[in-house]
């Protein structure tokens, strides 16, 4: 590669490289590729497919909960659906989608020719596929897929009458997914720290790059913890250890502590890159620099740090000493400060802008509003005594879905609309995009807002059937769910349509008005050539950091 670069530099001043070989021909291209754009595409398409798989499971859940009584599924299968829905969405859809975005965008945004470790990049993708397929295969095993919740709490998940043959397969799948994530994270860190254009200092990097750098460190820190926890489950089950078995001197609550030491950073792994994308999109459509760039970076780093020291707020009712309850309550409340800074910064970025509302901006604004609502309920749950009521009810379900669906998922949609024209050179159909947005934004609230009421009224989560007084809001929530699910088919249509040619309109290099002021990727041709930044750019957009220079 370096030889090719050197040769290239000698003969050509432009960063087009017409003489370089393109991708391998045929299907093999997608299997052996080491190109960051191809791997990014693979990640994104795989995540989209898993989004529909996990979504179908959610449809099963909402169909069963449409009315009280059991209509469609057995309670154990229902539990498998909630478990698999979570695992598929977290490890199969949201995380891979952000890794896909990182693959596509980080090299383009920092002026690097590719990811630092291209072969490992290929391997981490295919290991992800193997992991998710292994997980999905448990659906067809004797005794069904894991049904002890995505948290896999012992002793339930180790019980022979609860989980059949699936457990070791699910655990091995977690190992594969963990290795895949760690390799992805190493690659991202290596790329960002080593391959930036010489002109780009750390405090010049776009926020998406910053948030991913921090997220990658979180991944490296916590994925091994999760792998360790599930390995302990494995030895408890098959090798007669007693890590989590009180009869042998262990403690089931120990697992909860280990799991959430992983689990809390994990939820931030899904939201920090979301913040990065939002901070990238909003300035472009407000035609203003991002407000408070430096404070955004520090807020992200603070949130990442805090994520390691608040885990037991997932376990307020587990029976902790009072000092523990109070400490975890205070620590959790502090997270509201840097998160608030971010929301204020986005609002200030919009303030006195010259805004237009194309689909990516619509999704981003909806993200700011609806994520903030999820943040508010998060603050409510931080109040430990109040959490004694909220814990493990639909209030919690509403909370984390607000921070994941109209936040992470909406921003992934926004990113799709924002960068697809750049990647493909085709414009998506704005009318259908707007229709997709409005249907999604309205139905997601019909789906999740009533779940706050259900939780406050006393409906526990993870139940297939419920008392009559919960019937009305559940039916409304299910209707919202079906509309939301169906609306996502529009997104599938738009993605396919745009790849095939979209509106036929020729998009400019900038795609969006003055976008080149905001990011390096907009200075490249549309569609982006197969190889980019063979010669690193000599200047980088620093509109957002004017005062620092």
């Amino acid at each position: 590669m370096s030889a090719a670069v050197a040769e290239h530099d000698d003969h050509d001043d432009h960063h087009h490289d017409d003489h370089d070989h393109g991708p391998a021909k045929g299907l093999l291209r997608w299997i052996i590729t080491t190109n960051h754009k191809d791997i990014g595409t693979l990640y994104l398409l795989f995540a989209l497919a898993m989004f529909f798989v996990g979504g179908s499971m959610a449809m099963v859940i909402r169909a069963e909960l449409f009315e009280p009584g059991l209509q469609f599924v057995d309670p154990a299968f229902f539990n498998s659906m909630t478990t698999m829905h979570a695992l598929v969405m977290v490890f199969g859809a949201v995380m891979p989608a952000f890794v896909g975005l990182a693959n596509w965008q980080i090299p383009l945004m920092i002026g690097a020719a590719d990811m630092a470790l291209p072969r490992m990049n290929n391997m981490s993708f295919w290991m992800l596929v193997a992991g998710v397929l292994l997980l999905a295969s448990t659906l067809f095993m004797e005794g069904g897929a894991p049904n002890g919740g995505w948290t896999l709490y012992p002793p339930l998940v180790l019980q022979p009458i609860t989980v059949g043959k699936a457990l070791p397969f699910a655990i091995f799948s977690v190992h594969l997914l963990g290795i895949s994530s760690i390799m992805g994270a190493i690659n991202i860190i290596a790329t960002i720290l080593n391959m930036r254009a010489p002109a780009m200092r750390l405090m010049d990097m776009p926020l998406f790059v910053w948030t991913w750098l921090i997220t990658a460190f979180l991944l490296i820190a916590v994925m091994p913890v999760f792998a360790g926890a599930v390995t302990m489950l494995l030895t408890d089950k098959f090798f007669h250890t007693s890590f989590f078995n009180a009869a042998g001197g262990g403690d089931p609550v120990l697992y909860e502590h280990i799991f959430w030491f992983f689990g809390h950073p994990e939820v931030y792994i899904m939201i920090l890159p979301t913040f990065g994308v939002a901070s990238t999109i909003i300035p472009v459509f407000a035609r203003k620099p991002l407000f408070g760039y430096a404070s955004m970076v520090w807020a992200t780093a603070s949130i990442a740090f805090l994520s390691f020291i608040v885990w037991a707020h997932h376990m307020f009712t587990v029976g902790m000493p009072i000092a523990g309850e109070l400490y975890f309550m205070y620590a959790t409340m502090i997270i509201a400060v840097p998160t608030g800074v971010k929301v204020f910064n986005w609002t200030a970025t919009m303030w006195k802008g010259a805004m237009t509302f194309e689909t990516p901006m619509l999704f981003s604004v909806a993200f700011v509003v609806l994520f903030t609502m999820g943040g508010f309920t998060g603050l409510m749950m931080a109040i430990a005594p109040a959490d004694f009521q909220y814990h493990d009810t639909y209030f919690i379900v509403a909370h984390f879905h607000y921070t994941l669906v109209p936040a992470s998922i909406f921003i992934l949609m926004a990113a799709g609309y924002f960068w697809l024209p750049k990647w493909t050179g085709h414009m998506y159909n704005e009318k259908i995009g707007q229709l997709h947005f409005w249907l999604s934004a309205i139905s997601v609230n019909i789906l999740f807002f009533p779940q706050h009421f259900l939780g406050l009224a006393g409906m526990p989560r993870r139940i297939p059937d419920y008392a009559i007084q919960f019937a009305d809001w559940n039916m409304i929530s299910s209707i919202g769910g079906f509309i939301f699910g169906a609306s996502q088919l529009l997104f599938l249509y738009i993605v396919i349509d745009t790849i095939k040619g979209g509106t036929g309109e020729k998009v400019s290099d900038e795609v969006w008005e003055d976008a080149a002021k905001h990011g390096l990727e907009w200075t490249l041709p549309s569609p982006v050539p197969y190889h980019t930044w063979i010669t690193p750019p000599t200047t980088v957009p620093t509109e957002h950091v004017l005062d620092i220079h």
Binding site: Q71, M350, K352, G353, V365, A471
Partner: protein, 374 residues
């Protein structure tokens, strides 16, 4: 006689229930019936209003901006992107709000945690899938299962749960406590993690196997308060409700007396007709076996063996009897059942659920000498 009473009572309840147990559009947390639950409600409202006010300010500014600062209105974009003063302000103000919020929250947390000076203690043991209540320092000890009407309804595809009073929130034997008395709970579990929650009392607490948690309540108002298990505990997690009845002290004393007398009663070992054996056997089955072996005895493929056609269930009754009393690594032992219940259960299992052994067992056959002690 008892059956007739139960039927009558449930009919009346159903008639009342049709008016009251309908779906409603409850929006907010309940205040509950204890001081702590009211404190928690106040905390909930305080933090909710703080969030609403912040939301109105932030979203108000955002929507003002969205409406006025748009390109289509000819608004020119300003180019500011930093303002140290305002950034310090919007870091400090939320911090102050949080500190103010932490003070009442800490007070309530300390109160919730104070189990001292209680007047009585009840041991709560979560089991798949019912609750076991033991009044410490007394002989009162009973199990609390989902009531039979809900049990049958939720296990019948297409049954209308609206016809069942307090569907899924009713039990056969509720927990009874006196009002104006500090009741301490010690919670544990016999199998997996459960969580004991009655919203009107204001808290939930996990029941962890091998460990003991503590909690307390002091109810001011007589009444019936309902809740559910809130930690996923397997296939029937949704079907192990909690009912607490709080009574005036004299009523409670009468209940204690009656319960102790009932517990001392020896099982009636007189012969029953086949119909009686089968009907009672179904009740025993619904309470003890159905969670795993399912309503038709089909079990769960790959996890739980079927009773239909099972060699153990349809073999010699003496070996079935021994099997049930001993349990296995997967199945708990059922030596808690008395001779009468064994006769009823075995007759039911051997002649229903797709089996047809054709025998009938009488309580006198299955009773062991020490069954009389129960």
């Amino acid at each position: 006689m008892n059956k007739v009473k139960q039927l009558f009572a449930s009919l009346i309840l159903a008639a009342l229930g049709l008016g009251t147990a309908q779906a409603d559009y409850t929006l907010n947390l309940m205040k509950g019936v204890t001081k702590v639950s009211n404190d928690i409600y106040d905390l909930h409202m305080l933090i909710l209003w703080i969030c609403v006010i912040i939301g109105v300010i932030v979203f108000g500014a955002m929507f003002y901006s969205i409406y006025h600062h748009r390109k289509s209105k000819g608004h020119q974009a300003a180019q500011f992107h930093e303002n140290t003063t305002i950034e310090i302000i919007w870091t400090i103000i939320p911090t102050l709000i949080l500190v103010a919020m932490a003070i009442p929250a800490t007070k309530t947390m300390l109160e919730l945690n104070n189990v001292n000076e209680s007047d009585m203690t009840i041991q709560v043991t979560g089991k798949q899938w019912y609750w076991d209540y033991k009044y410490l320092n007394t002989d009162i000890h009973f199990e609390s299962h989902l009531d039979e009407a809900s049990e049958k309804s939720h296990r019948t595809m297409g049954a209308d749960p609206r016809l069942v009073p307090h569907y899924l929130l009713n039990v056969d034997k509720p927990l009874v406590i006196p009002i104006k008395t500090k009741v301490r709970f010690v919670l544990t579990s016999a199998d997996v993690i459960h969580s004991w929650w009655v919203p009107d009392l204001g808290w939930k607490k996990d029941a962890n196997p091998g460990f003991i948690n503590e909690a307390w309540t002091l109810v001011d108002k007589p009444g019936t308060y309902r809740g559910q298990c809130t930690e996923l505990c397997g296939r029937d997690h949704g079907f192990m409700p909690i009912v607490v009845i709080a009574m005036e002290q004299p009523d409670y004393d009468a209940w204690v007396k009656k319960t102790l007398e009932q517990q001392k009663q020896k099982p009636d070992l007189s012969d029953q007709t086949r119909e009686q054996l089968m009907a009672h056997g179904e009740s025993v089955y619904l309470k003890n076996c159905v969670g795993c072996h399912q309503i038709k005895g089909a079990g769960v493929p790959g996890l739980i063996p079927a009773l239909t056609g099972s060699a153990i269930a349809t073999g010699k009754w003496e070996s079935l009897d021994g099997f049930l009393r001993a349990g296995t690594s997967k199945m708990p032992k059922f030596d808690k059942l008395n001779g009468k219940e064994f006769a009823e259960l075995m007759t039911y299992v051997r002649n229903n659920l797709g089996n047809n052994v054709g025998d009938e067992l009488q309580p006198k056959q299955t009773a062991l000498p020490d069954d009389d002690d129960e």
